[in-house]
Every structure is written in structure tokens, then in C-alpha cells.
């Protein structure tokens, strides 16, 4: 079979008549896809342009068509019968110098006017700038993809959901001080010498550690060392006695005692036995007891400063990891693996101090990937889901890595892809269609675009509407696509 016939371009033939510099235009009449009406159209155009039209047949059909058009010798309006095939008459020459000068001046003025008019036309046509904002109605498209960022991969494998990744490590050190918040009571125990009384008939030894307490009070003391061989009573009226030292069980000034205070035995087999007694004799005392509240390091203080410093170092680590890659490097923070390599507190828990200082060193590990690789994976994976006549709207694709898991050589996660698809817009065609239109026509055209829900058109300079035109130069037309939710 032959190819489809090439349509005879009447436009080009008319253009030939229009553009022809000579007064006579010769046109070969095609045999196919040409009819008598088209010859009349050519004739009418030739007449309008004041040109002689010579129609040349290219075959029997065109010859008959030309014959059917008629046999006139002069170009006729539409409906005339025949083309004119006579040569063009020579133009008459001016015969006087005055007339010649007049023609010259008139021509010069005409050229100037044409130049100025042409310049103004050019300025109006090509200097303006047009800004068009087309609002598109997006349709949400959400899909979850299983993604593995593998440091061994070299390219995106959409089928397996693999994209190349880089192993990144960073080490951060820091020091942080906090106020200690723990409290403790510290002080001295009361010590002194007392008199041990033995009313038995035989010597008595009070062993070290035996607990005694102030009579009628809950203030206890222990015997510091054995008080040996406290003499037996020499007579029924007198008891034997010996000096011994005691120390309060707890700290505090309330344990200081003065002369005359008597003690009871709490244990050691002496309790409630009236034959034994302890008291502070003249010249003796129990003194030196004291107590005060001081600030110490609590366990919570250490935990808090550790958490705070870890957090700060982690932030630094993220920055270091991100900066170690390119501008397109994606850091999935939730997947960063951190470990403390060195930790040193200035004070242990319970130590008295107002300030606790921690020195910490941490190591961070992550597998990062390039955003462009992820975009490519997404495009390949969800491209098939985009309905016909729509396209993914650039810059409106959000990718959330869900439940990231980092292993030694790969980072795995579910990528939740939230994209928006918008009707396909042929921006270049719109620019071409808009070129040269007046504001009313441009607005009518823009409102006819089914892809857009709204439009904005701004023309510069802000001339009166009749003078405004969309630039013919499509390079001076900018079209911005936005979605209705922006």
C-alpha cells in the first residue's frame, strides 16, 4: 500500500501569493486534494494582494480545474471564471522632477513611520513579560514500599526495593555539668566518759558494744571498750565504780549529755538489773555530737546528666553524619545506632558536692541514602499507579521511613509514599498558545484549560488593556504550576 497522501497545503500557496515580491505569482495546481473552490480562494487572495496569478496545471485534472475556473485575462474575485496568464504590465514612470521629489519625500516619511510603527509593534509584542499561575487539583496517592538501603548495592533496583547506601560513622565528645540535688545529714557522734557502777559483791566487766541509753529517752550509746573489773561493793552502803567511755550510736548534738544524767542498759544481759548503773559523774561529760544537711550527688542526677548529654551529642552526631554526605544525603534519624565509648562522672552517687560533671564520648553509626535514588525508586514503583493523563506533581512526594531497622550492612524500612498526582499539563504548548494574545483572549484560553481549576495572569508592563499582549516570545512567558492546597 502507498503512504497516506500528503495534504496539499493551501496555506503555503496563499503564503506564496502574500509573500511574493513580484506582481506576478505562479502557482502549480496539484492534482490531488485540491478542488475548484481552492482555486477561487487563491484567485481572491491574488486580487486582494493586487497580484497577477498564473495557475499552472500539473496534470489533466488540474488543467480541467483551471479551465473550469474560466478564461479571464485579469485576476478576478471569487467566482470569477479564469486566471490571468498575461505578463504583468510595466509600472508607469514619473515624468517630472517635482513629482519625483514628492514621491521621494513621501516614501521617506512612510519608511520613518513604518520604522517607528514597527519598533512600537516590536516593543509591544516582544518586551512584555507574562506570568501565569495555573492551579491544579491534586489527587492523593499513597503507597507503602519495602525498601532496603544496602551498602553493597550500586544502583536502584525497583523490583527488589533496593537502593544504594553509604555507611556513615561519627564520634562526638562532650562535657556537661549539673547541680547536684541529693541531700544527706552529716556530723559527729557524741563521745565522753561515764561512770560504771557495780553494786555486786564481786567485780564486774561491761563489754564493749553494750548499748546503753539515756534514762527515759531514746538516745542510745555503745560502750567503746571493755570496762573491766569494776570493783565489787566494799560495803553494803557503797557500790564499786569505774570510768569508761561511750559513743552515741547516731550523730547529733542531742546526744551531748551533762553531769547527773543516768543511763539504762539496753542489752548485754544487764537490762533492768538495778545492781548496775551508769551515770555522768562530776567532771565527766558526753559531748562533741553534731549534725548538718549537705548536698550530695544522687543517682537521679547522674541519670539526668547522662541523658541530657547523650541527647546533645546525638544531635551533634546527626549533624556530623548528615554533613559527611552530599546535600542530597538522607539521614533516617530513628535508625541511628549510638553507643557510649567513654563515660566519666566527677562524683559518685552520695558524694557531697554542689556540681556534678559528666564527660562523655559517643559513637554513631548509620546507613544513609541519596534522596534522588529514593525518588527514582518511588517513580519506578508507583509510576504504574498514576492514572492516564495524570502525572506525579514534582515536590509534593513525601516519603516517611516507617520502622527503620539498621543492621551491619543495610537499613530496612517501610517507605510510606504520599504523592499527589495532577493532570498532565503541556506547559510549552500553553505558552505557544498564549503567545500574542490580548488579555481577554488569554484569559478565555486559560479558563478553557480543563487541567487547571484556576489561573492567574499577570502581564508586564501594565499598559492599558488594549495595548497589552502576551509576549510572542514564549521565553518571556513563565508558567508556574501550583496545587489548590498551596
Amino acid at each position: 500500500m502507498s503512504s497516506n497522501p500528503v495534504l496539499m497545503d493551501l496555506f503555503k500557496l496563499l503564503e506564496k501569493i502574500l509573500a511574493g515580491e513580484k506582481e506576478t505569482v505562479e502557482i502549480e495546481v496539484p492534482e490531488e486534494n485540491f478542488n475548484l473552490l481552492m482555486l477561487r480562494i487563491l484567485q481572491a487572495k491574488a486580487k486582494k494582494e493586487r497580484k497577477r496569478l498564473i495557475l499552472l496545471p500539473t496534470g489533466a485534472r488540474s488543467k480541467r480545474m483551471i479551465a473550469a475556473l474560466g478564461g479571464e485575462k485579469e485576476p478576478k474575485a471569487a467566482g470569477s471564471k479564469k486566471s490571468d496568464q498575461r505578463p504583468a504590465p510595466k509600472p508607469k514612470k514619473a515624468r517630472t522632477g517635482i513629482f519625483r521629489r514628492f514621491v521621494l519625500i513621501a516614501s521617506l516619511l512612510l519608511v520613518i513611520l513604518l520604522f517607528l510603527g514597527g519598533g512600537a509593534y516590536w516593543a509591544i509584542s516582544y518586551l512584555p513579560r507574562a506570568e501565569v499561575i495555573l492551579t491544579l487539583n491534586p489527587i492523593p496517592l499513597v503507597k507503602e514500599l519495602s525498601v532496603a538501603v544496602n551498602i553493597s548495592a550500586e544502583k536502584v533496583d525497583a523490583e527488589k526495593g533496593i537502593i544504594p547506601g553509604d555507611l556513615r560513622t561519627a564520634e562526638e565528645s562532650g562535657e556537661k555539668s549539673v547541680q547536684a540535688t541529693g541531700t544527706a545529714i552529716v556530723g559527729e557522734k557524741a563521745k565522753g566518759t561515764v561512770t560504771f557502777v557495780n553494786c555486786l559483791d564481786s567485780p564486774k566487766t561491761f563489754t564493749a558494744g553494750t548499748v546503753i541509753k539515756v534514762e527515759g529517752k531514746d538516745l542510745t550509746y555503745t560502750i567503746d571498750a571493755d570496762v573491766s573489773d569494776v570493783p565489787a561493793r566494799p560495803d553494803p552502803e557503797t557500790c564499786g565504780s569505774e570510768v569508761g567511755s561511750i559513743t552515741s550510736v547516731k550523730i547529733g548534738s542531742q546526744y551531748d549529755q551533762s553531769v547527773g544524767i543516768e543511763f539504762d542498759f539496753v542489752g548485754g544481759g544487764y537490762a533492768n538489773d538495778p545492781t548496775y548503773n551508769v551515770y555522768i559523774a562530776s567532771g565527766q561529760s558526753v559531748a562533741g555530737g553534731s549534725s548538718q544537711e549537705v548536698t550530695i550527688v544522687s543517682a537521679d542526677d547522674q541519670v539526668a546528666v547522662l541523658e541530657e548529654l547523650k541527647k546533645e551529642l546525638t544531635e551533634e552526631g546527626k549533624k556530623s553524619l548528615a554533613s559527611s554526605g552530599g546535600i542530597d544525603e538522607v539521614v533516617v534519624e530513628e535508625a541511628i545506632k549510638s553507643e557510649v565509648t567513654e563515660k566519666k562522672f566527677s562524683h559518685a552517687v552520695g558524694e557531697q558536692t554542689d556540681k556534678l560533671t559528666l564527660s562523655l564520648t559517643m559513637k554513631f553509626t548509620l546507613i544513609t541514602y541519596k534522596g534522588s535514588d529514593m525518588q527514582e525508586l518511588v517513580l519506578q514503583s508507583i509510576g504504574a499507579l498514576v492514572p492516564a493523563g495524570f502525572t506525579l506533581f514534582p515536590g509534593e512526594t513525601n516519603i516517611d521511613p516507617l520502622e527503620p531497622k539498621l543492621s551491619s550492612n543495610k537499613l530496612s524500612f517501610q517507605a510510606k509514599v504520599s504523592a499527589r498526582v495532577v493532570p498532565e499539563v503541556d506547559v510549552e504548548k500553553i505558552k505557544a498558545d498564549l503567545a500574542g494574545r490580548n488579555p481577554g483572549s488569554a484569559q478565555e484560553y486559560l479558563s478553557s484549560l480543563t487541567e487547571a481549576t484556576a489561573y492567574e495572569l499577570q502581564l508586564w508592563p501594565n499598559l492599558p488593556e488594549k495595548l497589552q499582549r502576551v509576549p510572542r516570545n514564549t521565553g518571556r512567558i513563565t508558567i508556574t504550576l501550583v496545587t489548590g492546597e498551596q
Binding site: 497516506n4 503564503e15 475548484l36 481552492m38 477561487r40 480562494i41 480545474m65 467566482g79 498558545d433
Partner: protein, 322 residues
Amino acid sequence: MIKLKLPSLGKREEFPDQFFVLDLGGKVLKAFVLNYAEGMVARLGARKIPRADRPEDDMGNLKEAVGELKSDFPDAAPVSVVGASGPRTLAFTTVVRSSTSRDVEELTSHARETALRSAQEELRSDFGDPKLGVSELEAEILEVKEADKMEVYLFTSFADRSYLSEQAELVKRAGLSLWGFSSLPFNLVSELSKTSELNALIFDIGGAKTEISVVFGGQLMETKSFFWNFSENGNPTAFLDLWLDAVSATLLDFSEVKVFPAKMFLTGGGSSFPGLLEVVSSYPWSRDHPFEVAPDVVALEEDRLPLSLGQVALRVKGEGDE
């Protein structure tokens, strides 16, 4: 009284409720599946295939598109009505006047013969081919007025036989049977005339031709067409200016029209050519042509013209109901 006749190539079997209509244009092949129900015709599905470089590719592409439509609409009968328009066709209304004693059928028969001869002469002259075969597509008595004399308004459409053969071959290769050809402008006029009496010029601006129809009183009086390749052009302003020159010259060819109707409908794929609506709207029509007022220019929906072929079903079904 209106008497309807089937398209000339139509089979005399019952017209299906779901059927195909084809508009096989010079740039785009369009196939639609239409559904007739309760006196209404609605579009079910469509495919549009740009013309390829080779006719055999067109045949394959159309077959594939029709196959998809058959699959999507299994109830559609593989029967098609094919639109005819353009320079290789003619459509006009003839008014025959006689004494009331004449029989309408006899008068109509005579008028059809005269119309065929006239169309034959015109198309042969148009293309410079004295042997060009011409077939009648449709003949329809639009109206018969009887007063002191009888007036019969007869619409007829014709086409170059080789044009019809090319179209019929495409239909056959697409796996469809041909119900018949029907004039596209005639069907559009029928549809537009439903609500009010239509007086208008209709510009069917196809990808490869422009056809101008003159409509008075809801009747398609005459059509004239020229080949025009509507495609992206480096200088759209000059392109449209020259196209307007061609249209203007064509209007001059309607020499019998004393006053053109002040309404213009733009249809066809080329009507969406950038700036076309604007230049048609702003053109000083009354400067060169007999318009009483500046015409109102209305652009019709892109598929309005081929979808108007659904009018064939309404006429055929309506005739069946009579």
C-alpha cells in the same frame, strides 16, 4: 409532514440499540459507541486515533481501538454509521415547487435525480475529473408545504465513490459492518435545530479540511469545503489570517445567499486551534459579506459533531415506530 429515508448503504435490518459511529477524519480517526434508549442517544465509549503515515497502520490502529470498544461494551452491535463530510462530499437542500396536482413521491423522485446530476457535475468540475463516480448518501423530505402550490424541501447528500470505498474499507478492516454513511453537517443541524429554528453558518474545522454549511430555518441549504491542513505552525497569526482569507473567499462562493445568518458555530478538532475563536469572533465579517449584524460566534464541544451521528438512530428508530 416529514418522511424519513434510511442512509443509502444501510441494511434494512432492525437498527441496534447500541452501535458504533465513526468519524474518519484526515488527521484523527474517531470511534464512538452510542446507546439508544427511550428516544435519547447517549455516548458510552470512545477512542481517538491519530492518523498514521501509512493507510495499513490506520487500519490496524482502528481495528485495535474498535476491538477495545467491543470488549468494553459487549452489548454493542458491530454495526457502524459513518460520517461523511468534506470536499469530496456535497450536501444541500432543494426546494421543488409545482402545482398541487403533482404526486409528492413522483416530484421527489424527479428532484433526487436532478440533485444527483447536479452533484455529479459539481464534484466532477470541482476535481477536474469527468469520470468521477458520485453516489447518493441520503435523501430526505424535510417538509412539504401545500397551499396554492406545492413546495417540497428535499435534503440530499452525495459523495465521491472512491472516497466512500476508502472509508468502507477502513470500516470493514476494523471488524464492523457498515450500516450506512450520513452527512455530518446534516446530523449536527438536526441536533441543533431541536430546540429552536436554526439559522447559522457552521464551520466544521477538521484537521485536514474546512467545511462551511449554511443553515436557514433549521435546514442545511448548502455546504462548501476546501482542504486545509490544520497543524501547529511557526506563525499562528499569519496562519489564521490566511485561513480567514480562505473562509472569506468561500463565503463569497455562496453567491445565492443574500444575507448570511448572524450566528456562527465552530466545530471540529481544528476549532480549538490557538487563537482561532478569537480571530473568527473579531473578523469584520460584514465588511466583505452580507451580514446585517456582526455574527455571534459559538464554539461547540469537541465531539459534538461526530456524536450528532446518533441522530441517525433517532430517525431510523422513529421511522420504525411510525
